[in-house]
Symmetry: C2
Subunit: 383 residues, 2 copies
Amino acid sequence: MSSQKDHKLCMIPGPVEFHEDVLTSMSTLATSHVSPAFIPVFGESIQLLRKVFLTEKGQPFVVSGSGTLGWDMVSSNLVEPGEDALVLNTGYFGDSFSECLKVYGAKVTQVKSEIGERTTIQEVSDAISDKSYKIITITHVDTSTGVLADVKGISEVVKKQSPNTLIIVDGVCSVGCEELRFDEWGIDVVLTASQKALGVPPGLSILVASERAIEVFKNRKAPIPSYYASWAHWLPIMNAYESRKGMYFATPPVQLIYALNTSLKQITSIPLETRFEQHKKASNRIKDALDSLGLNFLPKNREAAANGMTAIYYPEGIQPADLLQKVASHNVVIAGGLHRAIATKYFRVGHMGISVTEPERKHLDTVISALTDSLKELGYSGK
Amino acid sequence: MSSQKDHKLCMIPGPVEFHEDVLTSMSTLATSHVSPAFIPVFGESIQLLRKVFLTEKGQPFVVSGSGTLGWDMVSSNLVEPGEDALVLNTGYFGDSFSECLKVYGAKVTQVKSEIGERTTIQEVSDAISDKSYKIITITHVDTSTGVLADVKGISEVVKKQSPNTLIIVDGVCSVGCEELRFDEWGIDVVLTASQKALGVPPGLSILVASERAIEVFKNRKAPIPSYYASWAHWLPIMNAYESRKGMYFATPPVQLIYALNTSLKQITSIPLETRFEQHKKASNRIKDALDSLGLNFLPKNREAAANGMTAIYYPEGIQPADLLQKVASHNVVIAGGLHRAIATKYFRVGHMGISVTEPERKHLDTVISALTDSLKELGYSGK
């Protein structure tokens, strides 16, 4: 850990701080992507992902790309041109998922929440009474607002009222830190990325699809409108590596997959439930501390707030650049706003992965002190 | 270098062996993708790419993904549905580029060479006399056959006979090891990947587009049929980072870009001409050694053969698995065949990057000895 002392602590909502062993895996010496050394590492990673997503038979995909690629992986494989998609929009990432779906020909209807509010079950129920949707998309945590969706509740009402609708979860900022039960809740796709609560540097688009989603894909009539994102290419690759065979479609990012393997082993070494609880507790600690300073949060209430990040309005009189720079002078990096309508009015703090699960690192103490001291130095006197 | 001693030398046509400093960059501690630490690293990498591609005003794109993504980056941005594309096919990668173009609606005509032959200038001249093509694609080195295309000659005839046709080069196995002069030869797009002669672990799709290609993109009428690969998203990102500002579309693979920066600085520290010569010389050395053993090459002659890799037929009586395993027992990894029609009949050796430019590592000696000894041990007695 001492080797990490000199750098600014990265407490943004991804990329997160990385474990030393994960970073060491990133420097794995040159290794062939079809070698007996690498194949079992990739194969085992695919299997370990099922444990993290809490699924027995879900099909993981691990693809070289940013989290953003996950939307193409969903939109180009599961929705045929002209089919209806319902997007539950709680921020920037709902806007973007909608745009992506439209590119691939979906007719998109959005349920847009006010900034800081989450979609209610009633809103979902009303929306799916109107029309029969091929898919419904839920941003589990919208990283732009820190709003946490009620995936379990939404899933229940969709299963009851519109059982054929595929339930898609954008879990980029939730997998590994928020309670998310793929099989138990009947989810069809969860997409995520490496650099958030999975604790791996950015560069992996990760997705798990239900058997039902794979069936829908296999029975699609329209041609697949993407080459790189086509499951027709990736399914055989995943199956090959899982059965410990090499196969080629695109060179996998060998070093990132070694890093993923290391992190997944760490994550699955304790029960997922413990991990969820740790993130809840850490989140409450951060939020209580900021609350006691008199700061206001974007999410309207604690129930609608993410556990892996916090979005906070600047107090009056504090300029965005001033706070971020002041916090950086305390060797901590936090993030500015991202939601287009209010980007300059709030900031974001990430609390995921080893910053939460390894309290001996004192990352939470460090970010709380840095924020408290910075605000004081900028003349903010609290409530 | 001693730290790399214990692993099997990776002499396949990508991923190649990586420099220690590149590997160290891969373990860069957690860093925000919009931090003052990272922005100049990304910005400088974009600028250094121009030097490697020998272009003044070409527009680099650096995107999280495999080299395969480069075909989507070309096909979805430059070709509109129904437009004609001419693919010069010298192996597996010509087949795949054709498939990708078709996915995005191009009408594809192929000039297919016999295995081991390269497209002649006459064939190109004839093909472009028949029809007016929006783009022509050339696989500079088809990694499946080791055939080297005459990009300069082809470019000349296209410019003369069909000046509006955009010239696209798949340089995955050529950028950084084969002579390739973007501006001088009038190329419109070169796409490549990180893990070959650029000497960076896999996970970056890298592309440079000419001003003319960017104009064609900006004037396209049909909507862009991809979300993740759309230049409409990536152009502003590249411009932002180059002018030392952060901007968000998808989280860039921070650690891979640090590694790219390190490698590009090494590559541009000597004239590119020297690098091209080094690879030619290394290639001749490998090929002469194998020739003297009585082995036959896939490319019909030395002029049509790549300088960064060699594709060699197994001598009679030698089984594919036997040779690869025997060579591995000498701690060297080489690759099997990839071209579908003859995959079990040949093997491939890579000789790119530090294995070539840093002769003190003795990688060429090592692979030549390993091959010579292995063949002898398997009972092969030479010509």
